[in-house]
């Protein structure tokens, strides 16, 4: 494998775009990422497009028709919440393998107000087990995952709520965040319960958004940028056998396996990271991933947030973008957007929320079912 640099990035502020369609959103961010890279669509040799809800709608090709249909290979990717980051990995391997010198990854999603409960349909409703035989929807699943940590280590709801406080505080400084409002601890704990222990502010919002990244071989990158950001590892795992899975989704092993491979490939350990953007679809998820990514020892995630070590300025800043809780989570866009966030920090272009002197960052995404991606970036 040869070295690959991220040369251009962009994300469209996450939110609601009822007057635009998803191809427009994806096209806008793609054009902006190409401009950031100082090149045009004519310089791109392969496109990987991530979109989940419209995965059968050839979004990638429609973007090309919008911005310049050059006839290059276009891959449409769907991998649950890891859709965008899997598209990034496709672009990465296309260049790393030597097959192409330039590639572009774009992630997009338009969820409207459908919400996480809007899925389903089709089939005979009488045979839906949801709410009849437990729950398989994300709020309940991530509620149970957090409760498992409570059972093992005595973690409290208040400790988990502190993660939501932190991410909303971080989000205030991010102009690309869907919500930029602080949520003090008492507000988080007193908000209505969605699925215990997660209250409203401990659940990410739904929304629309798009993000894109331009990748190039080292030789090519030199011609376009003086500030390349290198992909030190791009890992994808699926969930291995675990006795309760799939009755109970296992979000931990899939992340632990990816983290080990990522650290081995990048030749670093968690102590070498300056920042982490991880998949906080729910506050309980961030708690678990502190340990899954090795940011603290097993059982110490509650203490890590108690000690504010994951705040910007702490030992290991996590989700300085505001995370999914504050920045938003348009499924297919998320995985490219958290890479974009890290690239901005490594280039010292992150404005008020800049992690001082950041040289190495890790972007983590998990899609239930399950897929985990970890991308390690270095300047």
């Amino acid at each position: 494998m040869r070295d690959v640099a991220v040369v251009g990035v962009h994300m469209l502020k996450f939110g609601r775009y009822p007057d635009k369609d998803v191809v427009q959103l994806a096209s806008e961010t793609t054009i902006a990422a190409l401009k950031d890279a100082g090149c045009s669509i004519n310089d791109i040799e392969l496109v990987a497009s991530g979109n989940l809800y419209q995965s059968n709608a050839m979004i990638g090709q429609r973007v090309m028709k919008e911005i310049g249909a050059t006839g290059i290979p276009v891959i449409n990717v769907a991998n649950a919440c890891a859709t965008g980051s899997t598209a990034f990995r496709e672009a990465y391997y296309s260049v790393a393998s030597g097959a192409y010198d330039t590639a572009l990854a774009v992630g997009s999603e338009q969820m409207g107000k459908m919400g996480l409960l809007g899925a389903g349909g089709g089939g005979d409703r009488a045979y839906s087990t949801e709410g009849i035989m437990g729950t398989g929807l994300m709020p309940g699943v991530f509620g149970q995952a957090g409760v498992e940590h409570m059972r093992k280590y005595g973690t409290t709801q208040e400790q988990i709520a502190k993660i939501a406080v932190k991410n909303h505080e971080h989000g205030v400084l991010n102009p690309n965040a869907q919500y930029r409002k602080e949520t003090p601890l008492e507000d988080v704990l007193n908000a209505r319960v969605i699925a215990w222990p997660n209250t409203l502010y401990m659940c990410c919002p739904t929304g629309d958004g798009a993000s894109a990244a331009v990748l190039m071989s080292a030789e090519k990158a030199k011609k376009y940028t003086s500030k390349p950001v290198w992909v030190a590892a791009s890992i994808l795992t699926s969930d291995p056998y675990q006795e309760r899975n799939p009755t109970m989704f296992d979000i931990n092993t899939v992340t632990r396996n990816a983290a080990k491979q990522a650290y081995d490939t990048a030749g670093i350990g968690p102590e070498d990271l300056d920042m982490v953007e991880l998949h906080d679809c729910f506050a309980t998820a961030e708690l678990l991933h502190y340990e899954n990514l090795g940011l603290c020892a097993d059982g110490e995630a509650g203490k890590l947030i108690d000690d504010k070590e994951t705040y910007n300025g702490g030992k290991i800043p996590v989700n300085v973008s505001g995370g999914l809780l504050s920045k938003g989570h348009p499924l297919g866009a998320t995985g490219v957007a958290n890479i974009t966030e890290i690239v901005w920090h490594l280039r010292e272009e992150a404005g008020d929320r800049q992690v001082k002197g950041a040289k190495t960052g890790l972007a983590h995404v998990i899609g239930l079912g399950s897929a985990c991606t970890i991308n390690v970036l270095k300047r």
Binding site: L117, A126, Y127, E130, P139, R151
Partner: protein, 146 residues
């Protein structure tokens, strides 16, 4: 639209790994699945192969008992329109070595408590819906044992 023949109503399980005997409800419904003869892993329902070791030939059917304990839970407040809420949505570890998603009754959903871990529970079944053909649909639920 002709509706000449009145088809006989059936009682169907909500999931395939719940088996409804012909004499239900006089004879109790039960969970069933497959066990791998190579690595002993157990699974709910029918399988083509073992999801743990990949064995394709040595799989045999097993019947699971109706008792177990709460491994973890959530209390779901926001759910699909029309469903009761809040409810306790748990993962039950059956004594026979498989886990089941279940609603658990006999606990106060307004007061989730870590004392619920390990609580003994027993399965019961009830008709939860009628399908498009008018057949009764039966689901399994769990109740805390005193």
């Amino acid at each position: 639209m002709a509706q000449e023949t009145a088809t006989e109503k059936k009682t169907n399980p909500i999931v395939k790994f719940l088996r409804i005997p012909d004499k239900y409800p006089d004879e109790a419904a039960y969970f069933w699945g497959m066990q791998c003869g190579a690595c002993d892993a157990k699974f709910l329902g029918a399988r083509l192969a073992c999801g743990k070791c990949g064995e394709t030939d040595k799989l045999s059917e097993v019947k699971f008992g109706d008792e177990g304990e709460i491994y973890v839970f959530s209390v779901v407040h926001q759910t699909v329109p029309g469903l009761e809420a809040p409810y306790v949505g748990a993962i039950i570890d059956l004594d026979d070595g498989v886990s089941i998603r279940a609603n658990v009754y006999g606990l106060d959903p307004e007061k989730p408590d870590t004392s619920w871990f390990g609580k003994r529970v027993k399965m019961f079944t009830e008709v939860t819906a009628q399908d498009r053909d008018g057949n009764d649909v039966v689901a399994a639920k769990f109740r805390v044992q005193e």
